[in-house]
């Protein structure tokens, strides 16, 4: 027997029952700020040609929030798609899709972050 407060504090055997839920909300808040920044920044651009876009993203004021956006948004969609998979896949395909999801988010995230860093650190194209 455990008291009600003991059950609440114990968080079960995994000790992290609210982890997924909380990080979904935390990244949602970060996404809201970072996406608002990106939309306003894009709307204020006068040109979208190569030189203008490179010059824009070379700045730390753009490269850093852009990298943060990638981390927050990609973490958020990783959590979201997990719930979608769990809701609709009930057999072994669930495991396969979860592995593919992890590969997808890490691979795309790596390319995105590398691209931002390459531009910001001024490597010649």
């Amino acid at each position: 027997m455990r008291s009600a407060i003991g059950r609440v504090r114990g968080l079960g055997s995994a000790k992290e029952g609210t982890h997924h839920w909380w990080y979904q909300r935390l990244t949602a808040g970060a996404n809201l700020l970072l996406m608002s920044w990106l939309l306003i920044s894009i709307a204020r651009q006068s040109s979208f040609d190569y030189a203008a876009m490179r010059m824009w993203m070379e700045s730390g004021w753009v490269a850093i929030p852009m990298a943060l956006l990638v981390v927050s948004v990609f973490y958020h969609f990783r959590l979201g798609l997990q719930v979608v998979i769990e809701d609709y896949q009930h057999d072994e395909s669930r495991v396969v899709l979860m592995v593919l999801l992890n590969f997808f988010v890490i691979a795309t995230g790596a390319v995105a972050l590398f691209s931002i860093m390459k531009i910001a650190l001024g490597a010649a194209a």
Partner: protein, 136 residues
């Protein structure tokens, strides 16, 4: 893995309930999120990689979505409006979820109003965004 006994009764599913705006925005939240997580992610990564790759790869990216004159072509319009509308809808229903998380907004009338408001706001914000983009 969960194995299901088909003889067990199922709880009532979608076709049993009377359709309402709260159900629509719920599935819209999931659909727009899944769409952006797949199509949107690939396009964002392609855009960043093309820009990092140099003038030539950036031109290849741009040419898929724009005409010679530099305006959006049909693919560009569908993708641009589709993604921004999805983003604003997901953003608005996301804010709605954060409000619902506090325990507020479950009264039938309020809930219906919030659900409708997310759709009105997402269409309005998409229109404003492209109006500003068009003016530049």
């Amino acid at each position: 893995m969960a194995s299901r006994n088909p003889a067990r009764p199922l709880s009532p599913h979608l076709q049993i309930w009377r359709w309402g705006p709260h159900m629509l925005v719920s599935i819209l939240h999931r659909a727009t999120g899944s769409g952006m997580a797949t199509v949107g992610t690939l396009l964002l990564v392609w855009w960043l990689a093309a820009l990092a790759g140099g003038a030539e790869s950036y031109a290849t990216f741009r040419d898929v979505f724009t005409t010679e004159a530099g305006h959006l072509n049909v693919i560009g319009l569908v993708v641009a409006v589709g993604l921004t509308l999805s983003l604003f809808q997901h953003m608005m229903t996301g804010i709605r979820h954060l409000v619902l998380d506090t325990g507020a907004g479950y009264e039938l009338k309020t809930n219906k109003t919030y659900a409708m408001a997310t759709m009105v706001a997402s269409v309005a914000l998409t229109a404003i965004f492209w109006l500003v983009m068009g003016l530049n």
